[in-house]
Symmetry: C2
Amino acid sequence: MNAIGVDIGGTKIAAAVVSPEGKVLNEVRYPTQAIREVKEGFEVDGACLAVPGFVLTTENKVIFAPNLHEIENIHLDEELGRRTGLRVTVENDANAAAWGEFRFGAGQAVDHQVFITLGTGIGGGVITHGVLLRGAQGAGGELGHVTLDPTGPPCSCGNHGCLEALASGTAIGRRAREVANEMPRSALGRLAIEKQVLGEDVTRLAHEGDKAALRVLEETGRWLGIGLAGFVNIFNPEVVAVGGGASRAGAFILEPARKEVDLRARSPSRDLVKIRKATLGPESGVLGAAALARSEDGEYVLGPSKQVA
Amino acid sequence: MNAIGVDIGGTKIAAAVVSPEGKVLNEVRYPTQAIREVKEGFEVDGACLAVPGFVLTTENKVIFAPNLHEIENIHLDEELGRRTGLRVTVENDANAAAWGEFRFGAGQAVDHQVFITLGTGIGGGVITHGVLLRGAQGAGGELGHVTLDPTGPPCSCGNHGCLEALASGTAIGRRAREVANEMPRSALGRLAIEKQVLGEDVTRLAHEGDKAALRVLEETGRWLGIGLAGFVNIFNPEVVAVGGGASRAGAFILEPARKEVDLRARSPSRDLVKIRKATLGPESGVLGAAALARSEDGEYVLGPSKQVA
């Protein structure tokens, strides 16, 4: 049956009716009443909201959403269920995106997938033995705040040297500004005099062959790889899917990451794992949420040819 | 029904007939023919071998056992099954010990448990949503080789700054010898002139109040905590159980570890988790193996009051 996935961001809501095969049948992108509008004319049996924050999945409640305090501590399932007449569940946005890639994207053919999204911060989601790793309260899969260097740069969480502080889009911008100072004659160095350099500038300059930009992305990729090597050892996954804005740097980041995984992860896990770019882009959230709306527990039959519910 | 758990170490084999409630009915500890002897007089329906090395659980085959090369690449299930008339499975020893603590020890009342064993090396095992995390090949739960400091001390695996290189019994001994040099008048410093200081010496001296020994264990506990904080963020577990020889240092290690987790893990995971000493000691391996012998997939009904199969 069709289901609705809703991806809630700080400034917009995307809602889509999605078929069991992962086809988007109808989609709206605006901040209110999204579910009711998108549903119009479709048979739908449930909806799942992907939310940027900590979700107590056992209670369908957001307990902390840094950019969306107004949805904290409300039983969204009851509230929205009453207004829309649908069974509504709530999930962390990175977990939903991970489930999207697992069902319809980079992890389609496997049972064990680590998903990591490199944006302003770093989000993560893990599927192990075909089951979404939610943990006891739904806060599991928080991959961005493993410590890789206790004396490293400060992190948004208050600590130092988290993966997020070393390999997020924000970290790329920070490191780019440092390298621009060290290499003032590079294209990166010259750009840094004109404007605040962002992650996307670095990717563009790397494509143009600028050595400073290439150095920033290689360093970032190595830190990413040090983190991923740990996840490969921990989960023995078939696929690590890397998504988010900074993944647009592609091989500039993924190649050094793969090298570090080859160096640091252990056999047989390192020999099995494929580290690849996520394939669904910004759609992973709605697609994953819609699939989770169909499955009450995020559990599907195991096996390389997954059954579509 | 009763089952046999077999714990294979480098120098000995322990085999026990274990009841469904976790009671050891009969036990032998010697290197050959353990299963046949321990079975004598008991009704038993299966056996599981806990092996120190990488186990392809899908094939019941040990692919790498650093101290037991003679059991590598043999179908132990067929070999031993034929000789004993039992259904035989094979599991990594730390995973079996984790399952033992989960069924009968420190994680008895929960569905999500991280187990870590601090010995010569560091082993790990994770139960998430009541399922043993084996990963795609059975190599999952390898918690000792996450990188905490890329420029840290060398690790047995060839890398630098792995958790194992910073918080194992071996790491305690190494760090103790360094601190002994810096504090030559401490009890630790004086002992280091007489003999090669080991982890157990440090624990003894810490109990006697020696400042150098206390410093070594506090530093070790902090590194352990930096690693555990990552696992708490990743798994959102109810319990982290710490076992192995070095866990005998108890609060000297666990208190600084807890402090670091409070500092580095995120809410709500850090508020939920209990970091406690494993309770089964060296029996965790046979008990876990026997329980796994009963369950073909390491999966039990979820819920705080686990059903005994």
